[in-house]
Symmetry: C4
Subunit: 232 residues, 4 copies
């Protein structure tokens, strides 16, 4: 039965090696994009930062540039959290098809625009109400677009049997519910930026702490240890 | 027989590990270039974008920069589709030789110039007829140069026996025909940009949909599942 | 016993493959960030370098830009040494949990700001005493922040049993002491930059030499060879 | 014997997995740097290119920027060839120690400065004789520095027994002679740039062709196939 199950996903030339390599290559490629996005933000910080503003004392210039640092931190938290979620989901995906690759590319399309929207946000955080609302809407659009295609990726992987054959269907459903909820919470944390930027950062940190406690589909060796301990 | 077959490709010190690592390293390296190209477009968007244009209201500036967004989308579609094709072809390549590495480097040479040609295109989309024709020709040159060396890579890999030994020769031929056809279709979709940019984007999306339906050499676990199901 | 031990960390669907892939993916992702940071410094060198300073003879301009080169070298040494330490630590980590991933992201948060702080440092190395002290403090903050989360990562990995089960607990403790000491030595080497930049570079090179001699947790095949020789 | 031999390189916790991962991680990390360097050149082309030169017709501006394209092509050839050599050498290296990692970092230190030196070269190719000689000397310094540490890496790997145990010592010596010869040939090809840039490009292409024919240590499946065929 397990053998027949495994064979379902075998490629035409019938070896197991490619299955692993396929999913691993998607992760490597995605990690390249994530890595550049995380680092590019710091480069932008550098180029839009105080070092380029002339006619101002350095301590003043550094203090004056605080929205850049806030944008860097929030964006690092955003891209980092998306990477965490991507890492957690793709642990369970062992095969890929053309549609899943396209959905993953669309996730990356939105992730790659994070520097653009974050830079706009950082430039207009102290602008007029119209500018603030417009740039915030673009930022929200990026977050929601990314979340949409992450959810579609998982839905597609479940539907087409691309997950690990031993994965509990109940766990797969719980993960689906969780990744549906996550963008909503991040939106709430973001919305607070209009009230108080520092408060928004705290809300982000609270969410990170919340995800540390964990949920279905997250990495929980300690929970597994307890389980393994009872089995031993 | 299978043992003799496998030995043909073995390196002088006769182990199997290196064969896998060779092909995998080429993929990782290529993915690094793809990842930077995809992300660099977004950084360029940021630096040539509305945030830097002074003396204009933000909503106007954002709306005025629509050719940049179109260039970003089309280029993401182009680089993403090339990555998909690269991923699909290299699944079948299990060994490399010096010539294949050089052909792959030449593919990357053209891929790395996508930001340059796309930026020229985006800057001159509303320029004079000469500027439009010149930048479009450069863009076409990039696409065709990349397609030329992808086709040469596949031809070389087939000729030198670098493909998986169990791969059906008929499938290898079908893949060769398909990658010969693909650049032609993308050229047609691109040519429409002179008629109407929005129409061109739609043509691209149609092509993406077309490749989702799949063809020889693409990842089709569902088709394989049907096959595996009859075997079970 | 070994079987029960291995099972403790097994994921719900109980296979060994994912354990390796998890740790490997974290390394690949981190390496992407490291690679961009190392290269971005050279790009910055290019953009803040003499090629852009007009109205000055090239030999003069090149000689005048010496602080940029020093900053590039010291930062390459810093990021390279952090990569070495990351490489050495993660050889022993075979499983990950959510908290370890977050701690690793926080390490990367500080590593990605190295170009920013190094650029500030390089711009203000010949500035007023206030500018020198402020930029040096930022640089120190980056080094110490990175060291803090590297130490927390190792402490967490030891506490939650994420290390290789065969790793000697004494070695794990020795590694912990060593990574606690390392940032202190680098701070001393850095502090010398206020006395004499060239002397500071020499101190860095001495530290690199010191780490070449090796310590607990470093890669020492020759020592292992002696051990293996007695076993043979 | 083979068992005792393998054990020599085993780490303290005595498993085989880490040996592979160590060497693989160095390759992945180096590939990240190579990937960024290759792509960054194209981004620089974009930013120093004709798109930014105002007050000039586009066809003229594009034609006027020919040294940038030449610099891009020669640098891509240089970095690509270094990647090929790195790929070929590291196929044989299966273990790493601290010194080899440091030597590899020093190789990357010189590779990461290629964009800087190539940009200087491209800016001063039509400058005064002093400017030409100075920038060419910097470019040569990069090539020679990289070659020095590649040669030291191979010498160290041979001396410390980090190569594959089944590798023929005669082949290892032949590879050492070859990588000593290679930088000399590239220097000759480069020197021709002072006579005629087009001739220099042709000399590069001739060298690429020369390395396609192959030499000791290169990937030659066809030669292995003949050998395997006689063994079968």
């Amino acid at each position: 039965m397990a053998g027949a199950d495994a064979q379902k996903g075998a490629y035409r030339y019938g070896r197991g090696r490619e299955m692993t390599r396929d999913a691993a290559r998607v992760e490597t490629f995605s990690d390249g994009v994530f890595g550049v996005v995380l680092t590019v933000m710091a480069v932008e910080l550098l180029q839009t930062g105080p070092a380029r503003e002339s006619g101002r004392e350095l301590p003043d210039a550094l203090a004056h540039a605080w929205p850049s640092y806030l944008a860097y931190l929030i964006t690092f938290a955003l891209a980092g959290q998306v990477w965490l979620a991507h890492h957690n989901l793709w642990r369970y995906i062992i095969r890929v098809d053309q549609m899943l690759l396209v959905l993953n590319l669309l996730v990356l399309l939105f992730i790659a625009t994070i520097p653009f929207t974050a830079d706009l946000l950082s430039d207009n955080l102290r602008g007029s109400a119209t500018e603030q609302r417009l740039t915030a809407a673009l930022y929200l659009g990026t977050v929601l677009g990314e979340a949409l295609f992450v959810n579609l990726s998982w839905w597609w992987a479940r539907r087409r049997g691309l997950l690990h054959p031993d994965m509990d269907p109940g766990l797969a459903r719980a993960v689906a519910r969780r990744i549906l909820l996550k963008p909503l919470l991040y939106l709430v944390a973001f919305a607070v930026v209009f009230v108080d930027p520092i408060l928004s950062l705290c809300a982000y940190l609270l969410l990170v702490a919340f995800y540390l406690i964990g949920g279905p589909g997250d990495l929980r060796p300690s929970a597994n240890r307890a389980k393994g301990g009872s089995a031993a």
